[in-house]
């Protein structure tokens, strides 16, 4: 029986929600196509994640442990994944698309001489192939692609599937891993963490994003206040991450992150295709812009034509009233 292996990236002591989304979809495909579903965790302390993986349907959870993995270096992770794929005998390998996996996917595919489909919006298994839809041309159209090979790798955009539980009793399978010290030539000097609301942008149910219309710290503070009230995260357009008003990690779009929250506020954002590429799958989009012809209104569920500096304070007060009730 062919096997689908889902690699579950972890951060801050949790499996990423986007990884559980991929695991949930892989479980559906496994039962539809008669495949074995297994999961993989690579971490300095992987065993704590076995229970969660089992809750989402993975009976076998391969674990690879090494303190090296704390360092965010690609070489040891590529080695660990390559050896886990070979040892498990997986035919299909699926993982969420995020900076940490974009970092390793190409090299991993080349080392395995595998087929690979990066950053897909949906995927299915057809025989020995993966067939997927990928947004291309700055996410203006979908490209249908098919990849085959002894192994096929796929990475999936966050929010493409719902994470749904289907508990099984899980057992860990510890894989031995000897990093090849000679091949680890890079050295991590430091990680510059960005302070945020603490809510992970790609996992937030509400995202409040600012663009060039947000002129100053006072403006940004209003967005942060609204996000905090709604337990959401703050996003931004490239114009204001470039200017330094918003942190680089907040950038949403083609170069930045892809988000698909239940509610997205685009505040003082014009709606360039490169920004829309990262947020057009949001369920409800609210746009606040003083230019009635701004392209963002073509995507907005609710568009408010007006000055954000007049609208935001009133909006914040109204949301406060609801939250207090």
């Amino acid at each position: 029986m062919s096997k689908i292996l889902v690699y579950l990236p972890t951060a801050d002591g949790k499996i990423k929600r986007s990884a559980l989304e991929v695991l949930s979809h892989a479980r559906v495909l496994a039962s539809k196509n008669g495949l074995t579903l297994e999961a993989l965790v690579v971490d300095e302390n992987p065993s704590v994640f076995v229970e969660t993986a089992a809750k989402y349907g993975a009976a076998t959870v391969h674990t690879v442990q090494n303190p090296l993995f704390k360092q965010h270096l690609n070489a040891p992770l590529i080695q660990a994944l390559e050896s886990a794929i070979k040892t498990s005998g997986a035919k299909f390998f699926a993982t969420p698309s995020m900076e940490a996996t974009k970092d390793i996917l190409g090299a991993l595919a080349a080392k395995l001489n595998a087929g690979v489909l990066p950053d897909v919006a949906s995927f299915d298994i057809e025989g020995d192939a993966i067939v997927a839809l990928r947004p291309v041309m700055a996410a203006k159209v979908l490209q249908k692609v098919k990849s085959t090979g002894n192994v096929v790798l796929v990475s999936v955009r966050s929010g493409s599937y719902d994470a749904s539980e289907a508990p099984v009793s899980g057992s860990a399978n510890t894989l031995t891993f000897e990093p090849d010290a000679n091949s680890i030539k890079a050295f991590l000097r430091e990680i510059l963490k960005t302070a945020g609301t603490g809510v992970d942008l790609s996992e937030a149910n509400v995202v409040v994003s600012g663009g060039r219309g947000v002129k100053d710290e006072d403006g940004r503070k209003m967005l942060e206040d609204l996000a905090a009230l709604m337990n959401g995260a703050v996003g931004a357009s490239r114009a204001v991450t470039e200017s330094g008003l918003f942190p680089a990690t907040a950038q949403i779009g083609q170069t930045g992150k892809v988000v698909s929250p239940d509610l997205y506020f685009a505040v003082g954002i014009s709606g360039a295709i490169q920004h829309v590429a990262g947020m057009s799958n949001s369920k409800v989009i609210v746009a606040i812009n003083k230019d009635p012809d701004a392209p963002i209104f073509q995507y907005a569920t609710y568009g408010l034509v007006g000055d954000l500096y007049k609208i935001m304070p009133i909006l914040i007060e109204e949301i406060k009233k609801i939250k207090a009730a």
Partner: protein, 260 residues
């Protein structure tokens, strides 16, 4: 320092596009230098201006890719290599990486800079694939780059998921560049004139010991077609004074969209 920059010619993603019978049609055949490639060229120029050395650009593509190569030369790169492919040939990322690897096997360099993805496909695979094929250390999604030639290393500031990572790499190595790294210079008139005299070394696949048929036979990924995005329900646009607007929005979010 010797920088070699892989650059890609891409269709202008802002030009109107249509899908007819599953195929993509661009109204205007507008081809441009990929923005991420342009940032890789820019950063290489900045570092050689600072530390000495030179910048070469390498592009795989049909004859018309030469226009894009000229653009990079006009920005300031000294020389170019054009690995020419048939007009209608299209390859997957791994094939392009194999072609580039075949070139680099016989050429020396300190840093290969490439775009972290390209504007048309956003795949972001080629840099990492090339690193694996050449067995070189690499870092992706660079938003800053510094060099320390005397210590034979570069320091990459990479944008990670929740912060920035400062990574030291020994040379030779590969860096994939974000357009958040810099604003690529616009070629000056002088640069454009000079570019016409700069050397472009054209190589065929067979010069590199490769052939199109076997590359094609080894391809693992096929494009089956194109389709439109799922249509969003048309939205509503409101005008009025701020208090009115917020009232309307609150009502819609609570009673219609039910997201509050």
């Amino acid at each position: 320092m010797k920088f070699s920059v892989c650059i890609k010619q891409v269709p202008d993603v802002t030009a109107p596009i249509q899908i007819k019978e599953g195929q993509l049609h661009q109204d205007a055949d507008r081809l441009v230098l990929d923005a991420y490639s342009a940032s890789a060229v820019e950063e290489s120029l900045v570092l050689t201006e600072k530390h000495g050395g030179n910048v070469e650009v390498v592009s795989v593509g049909p004859e018309k890719a030469k226009e894009t190569i000229r653009k990079a030369l006009a920005m300031g790169a000294e020389s170019a290599v054009h690995i020419s492919t048939d007009d209608n040939a299209s390859y997957d990322s791994l094939s392009y990486a194999k072609i580039l690897a075949a070139y680099y096997k016989n050429h020396s360099f300190d840093v290969i800079a490439v775009g972290k993805q390209s504007q048309d496909t956003d795949a972001g695979l080629t840099g990492g694939m090339l690193a694996a094929l050449l067995d070189l250390p690499f870092a992706t999604n660079a938003v800053g780059l510094e060099a320390d030639p005397s210590a034979n290393k570069i320091i990459v500031k990479r944008q990670g998921d929740s912060g920035q990572e400062m990574i030291e790499l020994p040379m030779p190595c590969i860096v994939t560049c974000s357009n958040d790294m810099n604003d690529p210079r616009i070629p000056s008139l002088k640069g454009i004139m000079a570019s016409k005299k700069k050397p472009v070394d054209t190589k065929t696949l067979s010069d590199l010991g490769l052939d199109a048929a076997s590359l094609q036979a080894d391809m693992k990924t096929q494009v089956l077609g194109f389709q439109s995005l799922p249509q969003r329900e048309p939205g509503k646009k409101f005008e009025g004074d701020a208090t009115e607007l917020v009232g309307t929005l609150m009502n819609a979010l609570q009673n219609e969209a039910k997201v509050l």
